[in-house]
């Protein structure tokens, strides 16, 4: 592969890179609010005989107790391990026997159940999703099995590509005890502390019809799908245990370094960043234009410096995490152990250049063309469209978020972009460094960037 795109990046892009090219708007969809507060979003699309469904419950890993990270994620996964009259094996068999797919997962601010079925099996799909959300068995044995397996999969990931775990270490070190620092999948130690009762309590308090958005797109007739979903979800209970408001996180005021020791690693993996901005940030267009140029595409400043010109790394990116109240901004790259400092310095110099020079007119033009040119394929399938409708609803955004995006990109100027860069990308004296590598080789080098906290990769946690 010439370069890889991490799933994390793609997920973020779905949320932040937004809009169609000229003359195209988000397809029309019908919005229905059921009496219990459940919101339905429906869009017909007969391109292929498939239906995509996205059911989103507000909440997510930010509602995990501080010592029990991973709870929301375990719950999401357990929703499809048996529901109503079906055991876990029977549920999986019912999905696969018709060639369907159902995935359940959590992120920081939601639980999701996604389904992707042939249109002839629409009724079964609605039945299975309704069972998973409203009548999950939440069986104790299945819970223990899932929890123990999740712990071992994290252990296993520590012997795999370190890029997988870097976001967990980076968010934990940047946000600390703030809920946005919670590792969504938990850590080995936090998962071990979760009891079956915790999971039942989370479900009873937080998962209900008033927290639910269901978006469906694909090969069906709106009237019959609306009726089927209304029948299936209209009576679902409301819940009372709403998540506490998320406070604003404190940005780092000084440099600090987290060093994760992986003895024998031949490469150092690093993140450099600070607190970023929320999804509703007013300078969103400017930020997307800047981030595309800085580290969001192949010819970005970071890729040019760390890969094309120097051969120091295979990949270098700038990642924006954007949540409801705040977010993160990180440079992410890796290099051979022996060139760790050289690569870190190149990354820092490139960040300084972005802050000092900003974007000129040609860069802005290229960035806008790129964002708009790459956008339509992100809304091509039923699953993608359903996900987008649900994302807008959950975040309280209207279609202008997509349909007017091109206008706001076009309105950005070098000056407005410079102001956003100054606000979002951290200065060189307030940076959080997270470096994973062979500590014996680089311990005495990375301390030049700030006070070092060290943790072994074999420690069963992500927070130092």
């Amino acid at each position: 592969m010439r370069f890889f795109k991490q799933s994390v990046v793609l997920a973020l892009m779905m949320i932040c890179a937004t809009a169609f090219s000229d003359g195209i708007t988000l397809p029309a969809f019908e919005r229905v609010v059921l009496v219990n507060g459940t919101v339905l979003l429906l869009n017909e699309n007969h391109d292929v005989p498939l239906i995509g469904l996205e059911a989103v419950v507000r909440g997510g890993a930010t509602a995990d107790p501080q010592d029990k990270h991973g709870l929301a994620s375990l719950l999401a996964n357990l929703l499809v391990k048996g529901a109503n009259q079906r055991s876990a094996a029977q549920f999986a068999e019912a999905v696969a026997s018709v060639g369907g797919r159902i995935d359940a997962s959590a992120d920081l601010e939601a639980l999701s159940v996604s389904a992707d079925f042939m249109s002839r099996d629409a009724a079964l799909m609605v039945e299975l999703v309704a069972d998973a959300l409203q009548r999950p068995t939440l069986n104790r044995e299945e819970f223990v099995k899932l929890r123990d397996r999740s712990i071992n999969l994290i252990k296993s990931a520590k012997g795999s590509d370190p890029n997988e775990l870097m976001p967990s270490y980076a968010n934990a070190f940047l946000f600390g005890d703030h809920p946005y620092g919670n590792p969504v999948g938990g850590s080995e130690s936090s998962l071990a502390r979760i009891a079956h009762g915790d999971l039942l309590a989370y479900y009873a308090d937080r998962v209900g019809g008033d927290q639910l958005v269901i978006a469906v797109s694909g090969d069906f007739e709106i009237a019959s799908m609306r009726d089927a979903l209304t029948d299936a979800f209209g009576d679902w209970r409301a819940v009372t245990g709403l998540s506490p408001a998320i406070p604003l996180p404190e940005p780092a005021e000084n440099n600090r370094v987290l060093l994760i020791d992986k003895p024998g690693a031949t490469q150092s993996y690093f993140y450099i960043g600070n607190i970023g901005v929320a999804r509703g940030f007013s300078g969103r267009a400017e930020l997307d234009l800047a981030n595309t140029v800085f580290g969001g595409r192949f010819t970005s400043m970071l890729m040019t410096e760390l890969r094309t010109k120097s051969g120091l790394s295979y990949s270098a990116r700038s990642k924006l995490g954007r949540y409801s109240q705040s977010g993160s901004v990180f440079i992410a790259s890796f290099t051979e152990t022996g060139t760790t400092v050289e690569a870190l310095n190149v990354a820092l110099a490139t960040l300084s250049r972005l802050r000092d020079s900003g974007l000129d007119a040609a860069m802005i033009d290229s960035s806008r063309n790129y964002i708009m040119g790459q956008f339509p394929p992100r809304l091509e399938t039923a699953v993608q469209l359903a996900g987008t409708f649900a994302m807008l609803e959950i975040n309280g955004l209207d279609t202008a978020y997509i349909n007017d995006y091109d206008l706001s990109l076009s309105a950005a100027t070098p000056e407005s972009i410079a102001a956003v860069i100054d606000q979002v990308y951290p200065a060189s004296d307030r940076l959080v460094f997270v470096v994973l590598g062979d500590a014996a080789s680089i311990r005495d080098q990375v301390d030049q960037y700030g006070p070092v906290t060290e943790i072994s990769i074999s420690e069963p946690r992500f927070h130092p």
């Binding site: 992707d116 999969l153 590509d161 490469q267 010819t299 094309t308 790129y370 040119g373």
Partner: protein, 558 residues
């Protein structure tokens, strides 16, 4: 005889010889120049015509006129005692000799400079397109295919749902075309295809494409190198210009080669050295194949990545990036007519080359199981098991795909349900079949819990595979696998990217893009008996390679 003597005296024969030699040289030089600037065939024919008309004119001129100290005079007017025809003849002899020597030198030079050769295709004139229309039932009627005179194969599937286009360029070059010393070169070349041409600096290809709204990527496998562009319709002409430029004018700058070695090394460290799955996978292939080049890692052995030469790269490009070795697919917001016109314009003039040498080595039959062990620090052990199987066109390949859906296709699959959910002897299990030009492997990979008894898991895997061979599968299982594959088929065709990928793979591996659409019928024809028979022939422990990766085990006390 008097006429003959007079012809000879007046140097008519020598003029004829000189004229002919000069004409031959001229045709050769001018012809080559015209081709290199892309002039059409009629330009060459025009030069030939002028030279042919010139011959009788020159001969009549030689007969009629004579060179004298006083200048050119009619032969009849020259005082024969003062005639210089002999001296003129000597000059003509000298000129003939010089031209002859030049001609010989040029011929020898041409032999010594193998890069200078006449392109075989010199007709980039717009011809009436000869489109192939779909013939098989069930194939969307809007699809068109054509082959340019230089052998470039193009398939177009118009789809106007979104204002975007996808291009895939399938190059028949991959790990199987390598040998010790150049392992990894196909993949490295994939990187070099983005690093500049005679017309564009390093980085310009990507900068131009992204500024026009396009993005690209590429991947290399054991069989192919595949280039992908995703772009808005408005960038169509730019994409053809960029792609045509790198196919015709690629530059292989030695400095860039050195810097790109660093990039590929970083990729190698990421995917293989610092990832236990990748580490085991490389050695499994090296153990399962002892003769066929599928044994080589696509990323290359480290020492080869360090040492391949400029010459290796140039030879590779010339051999494998010829138009007759490529298949391009365009899907999305385009018409076949515009793709044909642009392909002619930008790719039509690229000369075809002799086809690459066929891969001759056939893997000899494996006659007993092979085992490898990798001892590295690993929090969880890995177990990989591979069996020799068929190529993409083997009749057993599709039944094996059906079987793999039943064994490892998701949460309800046999091996996941048994090993992960019920017995909890594995954290994860997966598997796939290589579907390449040559016979490949059916490959299973399991992630085990810490402290797992690896031998027990291996025994259970073989037991379950043996059950399929002994007892077969149920009708319900067959129906489930078919449904999964039909749904996946539609998921693949839901995007212009999936369409391009599917058409191209069918065209390249199965010889016909239309095979994409026969999948539903092929699946319907597969029986449970067929699957059982494929299982019993493939899951044979004598054709098996077993690989284990784990931390080193401390010696037990005696």
């Amino acid at each position: 005889m008097a006429l003959f003597s007079e012809l000879r005296r007046r140097n008519v024969f020598k003029v004829a010889l000189l004229y002919s030699l000069a004409s031959l040289l001229l045709i050769w030089l001018v012809g080559g120049a015209l081709i290199s600037i892309g002039a059409p065939q009629w330009a060459n024919e025009f030069v030939l015509l002028v030279l042919a008309i010139g011959l009788p004119v020159a001969l009549i001129f030689a007969w009629t006129y004579e060179i004298t100290p006083a200048g050119l005079q009619k032969s009849l007017d020259v005082d024969q005692t003062q005639s210089m025809v002999y001296k003129t003849g000597q000059k003509l002899n000298a000129a003939v000799s010089v031209l002859a020597v030049l001609g010989v030198l040029a011929l020898v030079g041409q032999q010594l400079l193998p890069t200078f050769e006449f392109p075989k295709i010199i007709e980039p004139i717009l011809l009436a397109p000869e489109y192939e229309v779909p013939e098989n039932e069930g194939v969307p009627e809007e699809i068109r295919a054509f082959t340019l005179d230089n052998g470039l194969r193009v398939v177009v599937w118009p789809d106007h749902d979104i204002p975007n286009v996808v291009m895939y360029n399938f190059v028949r070059a991959g790990g199987r075309n390598e040998y010790p010393g150049i392992t990894g070169l196909s993949h490295f070349f994939e990187h070099m295809m983005f690093n500049g041409t005679d017309r564009r600096e390093q980085g310009e290809f990507d900068a131009s494409m992204e500024a026009a709204g396009g993005a690209n990527n590429a991947y290399t496998s054991k069989d192919l190198t595949v280039y992908q562009d995703w772009f808005p319709r408005s960038a169509l002409a730019s994409i053809f210009d960029l792609e045509g430029d790198r196919l015709a004018n690629l530059a292989i700058d030695p400095d860039v080669v050195e810097s790109e070695r660093g990039v590929v090394y970083s990729e190698r460290r990421m995917r293989y050295e610092n990832d236990n799955f990748g580490r085991l996978y490389l050695e499994m292939n090296a153990a399962a194949f002892i003769a066929h080049p599928y044994q080589f890692p696509v990323i290359g052995w480290a020492s080869d990545v360090e040492n391949w030469t400029q010459e290796d790269l140039e030879n590779y490009f010339r051999t494998y990036y010829a138009p007759n070795n490529l298949t391009m697919v365009f899907t999305g917001d385009v018409t076949p007519e515009e793709i044909f016109t642009l392909a002619q314009q930008y790719f039509g003039g690229i000369p075809l080359q002799s086809p690459p040498q066929a891969v001759r080595t056939v893997e000899p039959e494996q006659l007993g199981e092979r085992r490898i062990l990798i001892e590295v620090d690993s929090p969880t052990p890995l177990l990989h098991v591979a069996f020799h199987a068929g190529s993409a066109t083997d009749p057993a390949t599709q039944p094996m795909n059906v079987l793999l859906k039943l064994l490892v296709g998701g949460e309800s699959s046999r091996l996941h349900r048994l090993f992960v959910e019920e017995e909890q002897i594995a954290l994860a299990v997966g598997g796939f079949q290589m579907e390449g030009f040559d016979p490949g492997l059916v490959y299973f990979y399991l992630t085990l819990p810490p402290n797992a008894d690896i031998a027990v898991v291996e025994g259970r895997l073989l037991e379950e595979l043996g059950k399929i061979a002994a007892e077969g599968i149920s009708a319900a299982e067959l129906e489930k696998a078919r449904n999964i594959m039909i749904a996946d088929y539609w998921r693949g065709l839901a995007t212009i990217d999936g369409k391009a990928s599917a058409l191209g793979k069918a065209e390249v591996f199965l010889g016909d893009y239309q095979r994409v659409f026969s999948l539903p019928n092929e699946l319907a024809a597969i029986s449970a008996e067929q699957i059982q028979s494929v299982a019993s022939s493939v899951f044979d422990s004598r054709k098996m390679t077993v690989g284990v990766l784990r931390s080193s085990v401390e010696e037990d006390a005696q």
